[in-house]
Symmetry: C2
Subunit: 195 residues, 2 copies
């Protein structure tokens, strides 16, 4: 069975929320998950011509409220707040892109470790060195490599070419579902094989 493709940006708390549920969802239907880092800064700002979510009038205030409400409802640990100093996702994204190429069996664990440290515990993971306590020396050093930068760039190019612009987006056999609020519908799609 083909894996479900889970696209997300470490900057995105909605991606964090969905990352905690997507493996169970996949497993209920005999599927696995492929973890794809993206950078909304490239897709949203450059391709779509929009401004950052939290800087958008009205929407920024709503998203702050919605994120906190979601975390409370689902009991998700979240020490980082939506309005905290911006979380720089580059090192995390490069680390995961490198893991996907060199040790893909670790991709799920690395994703959970990075998301948990950043959003759950509020750690600053903005540099490769800061990743070491979370994912180990090898991956942290790899995140600083030119290869990791190129691998992340390739992930982002592939995502945008596939029309993906938001975090999280779950792609099931080519069908995209954008948003943590879409996981229920995505699961119905999976169960029914589409409609």
């Amino acid at each position: 069975m083909k894996p479900l493709h889970f696209h997300f940006d470490f900057i995105s708390p909605y991606g964090y929320f969905a990352s905690l549920r997507v493996e169970d969802l996949a497993a209920r239907h005999g599927r696995t998950v492929a973890w794809h880092p993206m950078l909304l800064g490239v897709a949203v700002l450059k391709v779509m011509g929009l401004k950052p979510l939290m800087d958008t009038p009205l929407k920024g205030d709503y998203v702050e409220r919605d994120v906190l409400r979601h975390a409370r409802e689902h009991g998700v640990p979240m020490k980082r707040q939506p309005r905290d100093a911006v979380m720089h996702p580059l090192a995390c994204g490069r680390a995961l892109a490198w893991v996907n190429r060199h040790c893909p069996d670790r991709a799920a664990a690395v994703t959970h470790a990075l998301y948990g440290a950043c959003w759950g515990e509020g750690q600053d993971l903005s540099t490769p060195a800061s990743l070491e306590p979370v994912v180990g020396a090898e991956v942290a050093q790899a995140a600083a490599s030119e290869e990791a930068a190129l691998l992340l760039r390739a992930e982002i190019d592939a995502s945008i070419a596939a029309g993906i612009f938001g975090s999280p987006t779950l792609v099931i056999d080519g069908e995209p579902f954008w948003g943590v609020d879409k996981l229920e519908q995505a699961e119905r799609w999976l169960a029914r094989g589409g409609w």
Copy 2:
């Protein structure tokens, strides 16, 4: 019990989808619905500084797919397509704003009639005269009045002042839920009185 405040733009197919479910949702909790027309063109373009949804690269394509997928899943009639010539919501919005002031007991029926004719049947409701077969001569004529224009403007100003920027947005005792995909969470909020 205070009514649930349902804010929507007749231009929005997601507002149409939600309009078909919101009364049942409210009734399950002993509530009624207040129907508030808005114009995304004012909130999104002028206040938020964004571009129209269907003109946004990547997102426009996704929304088209998502709208059609939602209509198929829920069996919602929809002859108008997301990519059809833009639906001008001004006459519909003004008609409902006038109804809200002068005969609010008709607001639900007028909303359903206008949404059904426009999105369900694909009728062009861009002028006050075009509303007459759908909502009758009195409301159609009122939609052309200066009073209706001012009443719709007041609805929009109040929505934006309350931080509402998207269609649909359901406000439950001051708590906003944006998107048809949020109706399930909104109902849990209603059942539990928040969390």
